[in-house]
Symmetry: C2
Subunit: 346 residues, 2 copies
């Protein structure tokens, strides 16, 4: 893969301005908008300084909230779906693909599902708590090791972990990810700033439970890093999660006890692409996938409903870890939509 | 104002789940989605550590990009409008109001305008560069004063600066801001993390110019902090900005030279609420408003088209600085829509 050529192709694609619609058809919405859940008020001694109006005095701030963007179809005829992104991403994961095609958020809406796309608490439009950073900066003698680590995976790491290919710059031969729009994709990667919240990712789990309380029973879709958050949400709200869809999500915390209790009536599916088999140097390979298969088997053994869908077993090849953006993303979406229609409790 | 009562009312409002639509009517879209502009690739020596997979090696990251969320009406019959938020906010400013009514983004779409809502470069879904934070944390001996200040205005400061009332907890008697949903509003406030980019807010100005190059001529709407960004964008792309709408935006950088050159053919409007007159302790009071009136007068004196709309002069009272969320937000929107229809160059 010639990366200079990729850049040139990207420049061409995105110089064409507002051309053809990204959507496969009109989007007719009864409602669309946003709200927040789970915010908590805390005191801060170090709110930083406005570049325009000077240093801020100590006071109250709101933290731990989660941004929720909802789209409600005019012809709503299916369960709501909550879409949760993974590490170094935001809800943009489920919007327009990097090469300008329809993403899963609007596609699921056009198939009749109300869709709720979130940004993890502490990330993106959900904001984060800057107090520790300002304190280290502004309070003499504060130990810099008290700063939160602010993880931002590099391009090199993203390429291998998100399974574009076996090593940076080298794609898998059958790769479905639209590498010609790589520059667009890399712009949606952001910092895991939830480390700047007191309990980190736990606030996202709390917020998802509160979201279910607000909107009522729904399918929860998780991806990658948020796989384990989905498991935690099922534990917290087994009555409200009508199904858990895990798109190459981690299952490390789904144990035999969960299989017998929280997942007894919550259908679970774990979806994986072919290039996860034997992949080296990626967190999204055999170990994670096999751990999910164990979880699926444990749920089935306990009498619950669960499946691991290996896309190659149904004739779909070449998917990256970012299958909601791959060139065949709507084909994969159709697999997930069918599984939801066949399995999710109404 | 009894703040305990406010909290109780908020709890009631948001316990009702997915009830009535926030929109005043169906939203029929030819297209909807998102993309990024202005990303640049840089090297980082300090990408931080993943809590799941450990410390990251140095490599390439993408920074300075700007997130753009677009909604294209099925019946598009008017100029595109780019909506830019202010300090401690994101594009959520223009979405559903805190009390669950329609915001300006969808309202302008339903009036025929394609609408592009952005998050400033360095903020919200646009992400930021965490390198300096990780460097201070992980490289022994790094001076903490090299950390970016991460300004996050407190509730107390927001109340006065965004002009809910003369002092914290005390509203203006005629206030139009929906204080019963204050808890929702405070959750949309986020950190000004663009200070973690090399040239701070300048990247947002660059990105807005690139956005105009991509989508073609448009009306640019700015608010508060981004008022001066709008002026800079007109300087950079005087042919592409069909009008600059400044919603209580700063005009500090709009000088006599600009009035004669960049603004010669770019109509300009500066919109203000009544409680800005004589307001104490707020950046959004007499000084800022009067500076904008000077700019308006300079453009008119040079033969250009400009106006300052004082809402009370047309019978609209009680608006806060966040007039796109006020209870009469659609009445104010109608004033802006009419000004655009009457003045923006086609």
């Amino acid at each position: 893969m010639n990366l200079t050529r990729v850049a040139a192709m990207t420049a061409f694609l995105f110089s064409t301005g507002a051309g053809a619609a990204s959507l496969g058809g009109p989007l007719n919405l009864a409602d669309e908008g946003s709200f927040f859940v789970n915010g908590e008020n805390v005191n801060t001694q170090y709110p930083g300084a406005s570049l325009a109006t000077g240093p801020g005095a100590p006071g109250r701030i709101t933290v731990n909230q989660m941004y929720v963007h909802y789209r409600i179809p005019a012809a709503s005829k299916a369960l709501p779906v909550i879409m949760v992104h993974g590490s170094n991403h935001s809800g943009v994961t489920y919007e327009t693909t990097p090469d300008g095609r329809e993403g899963w958020a609007t596609y699921f809406v056009r198939r009749g599902h109300p869709v709720y796309v979130v940004d993890h608490a502490g990330r993106g439009r959900s904001g984060f708590n800057p107090t520790r950073i300002n304190e280290v900066r502004d309070k003499p003698g504060t130990n810099p090791s008290t700063l939160p680590t602010m993880f931002f995976g590099t391009h090199e790491r993203a390429w291998v972990n998100f399974r574009f290919g076996p090593e940076y710059g080298k794609p898998f031969p059958n790769l479905q990810f639209p590498l010609e729009a790589l520059d667009q994709y890399l712009q949606q990667l952001i910092v895991n700033s939830e480390t700047a919240l007191e309990r980190g990712a736990a606030h996202t789990v709390d917020a998802l439970a509160v979201l279910l309380d607000k909107i009522g029973p729904a399918v929860v879709m998780v991806h990658s890093q948020s796989g384990v958050y989905g498991v935690d949400v099922v534990r917290k709200r087994p009555q409200a999660v009508r199904a858990l869809v895990s798109v190459e999500g981690g299952c490390e915390n789904l144990g035999a006890d969960d299989a017998k209790s929280a997942f007894a009536k919550v259908p679970f599916v774990s979806v994986w692409g072919d290039n996860s088999v034997g992949a080296k140097g990626t967190v999204n390979g055999d170990a994670r996938r096999n751990r999910c298969l164990e979880a699926v088997d444990a749920i089935k053994a306990a009498g619950g409903r669960a499946a691991q869908i290996m896309l190659p077993s149904i004739g779909i090849a070449g998917n990256s870890h970012m299958m909601m953006m791959d060139k065949n993303n709507l084909q994969v979406a159709d697999v997930v939509l069918k599984w939801i229609a066949d399995n999710a409790a109404r």
